[in-house]
Amino acid sequence: MTDKLKIRQPLSSIPTLFLNLGLVLALGLVLSGCISTARGTGDLGLIIERADGAIQIIETTSRTKLYEIDGLGDLSHASAVFSRDSRYAFIFGRDGGLTKVDLLTGKIVKRVIQGGNSIGGAISQDGSLVAVSNYKPGGVKVFDSATLNLVADIPATYGNGERSKTVGLVDAPGQKFIFTLYDASEIWIADLSDRNIPVITKFKNIGKLPYDGLLTPDGRTYIAGLFGEDGLAMIDLWHPEGGVQRILNGYGRGEKPLPVYKMPHLEGWAAAGDLMFLPAVGRHEVLIVDRASWKEVGRIPVHGQPVFVVARPDGRQVWVNFAHPLNNVVQVIDVPSRRIVKSFNPGPAVLHIEFSPRGEQAWVSVRDRDMVQVYDTRTLSVVTTLKARKPSGIFLSARAHRLGL
């Protein structure tokens, strides 16, 4: 082939020669199943299709689906974290499955069943370790993020050797993982700066029935929500020797606790300027808390029991979805005026809201209408609707570079 070209082409046609070679190369790549054009992953993400054990890889620039990947097992309440190069997603399934997916090729790279019944995970500060929280057997397992080989097994043992369900697992600065023991009322900090010798610091008697935890976006504060009593348990990670402090103690005091039809999520707690916006447990209210004093400074009446209360990345808006049976609505709160400026009704079972990294889009999953809607957050209108099978969580790759997710 090269010989032929040489004979036929005069010197002036060398660019043509390169073009031809380029075409041959490109064809070869396509035929061998490789990626024919280089691209980044900063605008990619995934949608959990929980009933089918599948995910979609999507991109937020043209707002389209790139791949559909099956075979991820039981994805009820599934979540995901991203590698530090944001090429790979690690998906945590309810059945103990930990699946590593390549966002660029849309393929499963590796999958292990690491527990019997799991609830979320986290990736370490340096990206080398992935931790998974298990209800059964209760505890946290830590894996090498490259190979998914087991690095450390941390059973959540308490009392007379019982094992607690673990919840609220997050990463924290200093190569740490923090999690909460639901049955034992404890918070544990696992320091894996030497991955072979995890050092555990335990905080006991933090309060009854801690059901979830979060790390503030600056990585300084860990907070566990308490179902069994009013208030929240907080640890200042700059001063862990200060122990657990109780915050928002008065919240709900003197009022009859209301039944909760879906536990609120803490991960999405919205920090907007000096304020935090939190879901009230059981009440049709969003609480406004001053971040410096941790005092409640206001409440906003909303459509139902809030599940996710999430701030647009610039903090100007807070979006809220709700528990069954009022889960057909999404409300948008304007932060300066503390007013609801828009109520959408996308359909029954809105399960999750995820903003694009700079907040111009909000992606909303609507389980019972088998769709994901993308909103323009400036005009508050629907930009596009994507089909998805019983969608739940939506996770965009920008999470790779945020603490505590």
Binding site: S76, H77, R94, N117, I119, Y135, K136, V260, Y261, M263
Partner: protein, 107 residues
């Protein structure tokens, strides 16, 4: 067989007894509610989550009336809420029986 015997016993134990099964479209709704919304805490396969498992093995020894009572009234002091606002006693007994015999996975 054992199921049928159990079913009659449950009905007889109720005051007024003549509770019929919910109609087929309501049955479909109830199973969807069970898998999707009860599934938030108990897992979509009902193998348990923050809430306990609701599989036949784990419900052995508990009768459908008591389970129905839990569905209707919740368990105070725990996250289990009362569902009376949208599930009738008749619905709850039917659901409890389905849980005790196991829900087919393809639902």
């Amino acid at each position: 067989m054992a199921e049928a015997a159990f079913y009659s016993a449950a009905l007889l134990a109720l005051p007024g007894a003549a509770l019929a099964d919910p109609d087929s479209s309501r049955q479909k709704n109830l199973i969807y509610l069970l898998v999707q919304d009860c599934g938030s805490c108990h897992g979509m396969t009902l193998k348990g989550g923050l809430g306990p498992p609701l599989l036949p093995d784990s419900l052995e020894g508990k009768n459908a009336d008591d389970l129905a009572d839990i569905i209707i009234n919740g368990i105070p002091g725990t996250p289990m809420p009362p569902w009376a606002f949208e599930i009738s006693l008749q619905d709850a007994i039917w659901l409890a029986q389905r849980m005790k015999e196991g829900i087919p996975r393809d639902r």
